[in-house]
Structure formats: structure tokens, C-alpha cells
Symmetry: C2
């Protein structure tokens, strides 16, 4: 039971596309991620996933449109919806999702991380 | 499926101690609240509750200590733990908790709100 300072946690890592776990409650996890470039299209069959932007800009490609999320904003990708996170500049995200959520959902790619480091 | 801008949602209300719902996923809800002064001691038997500070300062009284949470920080009160939110100046919070969570948990007070308005 500690106070978590988000910026202090962000300062602890530099690797991109590798979410770090900073909290857990009610079967959900809170992750931080730094991203730049393009991820892969994937979906999570049973998990809704929230993307909150802390810095930079997230362009979340869906199959029918692209959603742009700026700092101070969030977007929730409903379960079953294919999405592909992209970011032109380095972008910092806070993610909220069930503990069971796999990094790249229904696909496996070079970028896939199996487990998330605790910060 | 819309992008939610947190500040725009905060600008929509002024009443204190009356959380507004701005999101829902995986059986959890995202609330915004403006608080100032003292709440009541209460606990949630089955729900962990996350308090993220957006503005101001939250002093979260527990039975054995007081936890101070500043902007950019969050604290999770585990289920079953008595807590009393207080704030000297107007403080803006983002809360994350299960949909089942009652406002004042195991107690009922004048301040209790039964349902949260959707924003």
C-alpha cells in the first residue's frame, strides 16, 4: 500500500513496447508503456483495454477508422475489436486491463512480450 | 467508443462529493470527483478502490496513518480497509473501482450518493 508516482515509474525504464506493471486491483492491472512506431493488429477476445495518453500522441488504428488520443485523454477498445497502436513520436501510455490480457492478444509477433515486469 | 478528454468532463460539473461516471470496462467504472473538506470513514468489503489525483491534494485518512496523494500520483485502498478522504483545497480525483462499489461503502451519511450521473 504505497503511493505510486507515475512520472517516477516512467523514469525507471526506456524500452519501448514493453509494458511495466505498476498496480493491481480487482483482477485488473495498471501498466505503463512507452511506444514509438507501429505495433501489430490484434484483439483480445474477453478483455476491454483502456489506453490513457500521458505524453505524445497515440494513433489507434481500428479496421474502419483511426482514433487519435492526446495527453489527458483515454480510449477504451472493447473486447473483440481489432486494434493497432501506432505513435510517430515517443508516446507514454497508462493502460488498464484485466490481469489475463495478453500483450498482442490473438497473434504472436517478434514484438510480443510474455510477461510484464513489476516496477 | 469515443475518446474521453478528462478536463472537458471535469468542466461539466461543479458539485463536490458527487462522482460522475466517464467510463466502464470489464465490470469496472471510471469516475471523476471534485472534493473539498472531509468525507466519512467507510470501507468496501469486496472492492479495491483506486484514487488518482488530477489537481489539488488528497489526504486519505486510514485508521493507522494518513496517506497524502498529489497530482500525478495514485493510491489503491484495498477491500476491507477503512478510509476517509479529505482535502483542504478543492481536489479533483479520478477513481477506478468495480461497478458494484457503493459511494460510502458500509455506512450511510448525509453525503451519500446512491447513483452516479453519466457524463
Amino acid at each position: 500500500m504505497n503511493v505510486i508516482n507515475i512520472q517516477e515509474k516512467l523514469d525507471l525504464f526506456t524500452d519501448q513496447w514493453s509494458p511495466k506493471k505498476i498496480g493491481e486491483l480487482n483482477g485488473q492491472q495498471i501498466l505503463l508503456a512507452k511506444i514509438q512506431g507501429e505495433f501489430v493488429f490484434h484483439k483480445h477476445e474477453d478483455e476491454d483495454e483502456l489506453f490513457m495518453v500521458l505524453k505524445g500522441q497515440l494513433a489507434l488504428e481500428l479496421r474502419d477508422r483511426t482514433v487519435v488520443v492526446n495527453p489527458g485523454e483515454f480510449f477504451t477498445v472493447p473486447r473483440g475489436v481489432e486494434h493497432k497502436p501506432t505513435a510517430k513520436e515517443e508516446t507514454h501510455l497508462l493502460l488498464f486491463e484485466p490481469l489475463s490480457t495478453k500483450h498482442t492478444g490473438d497473434v504472436t509477433a517478434d514484438i510480443t512480450v510474455e510477461t510484464y515486469e513489476d516496477l
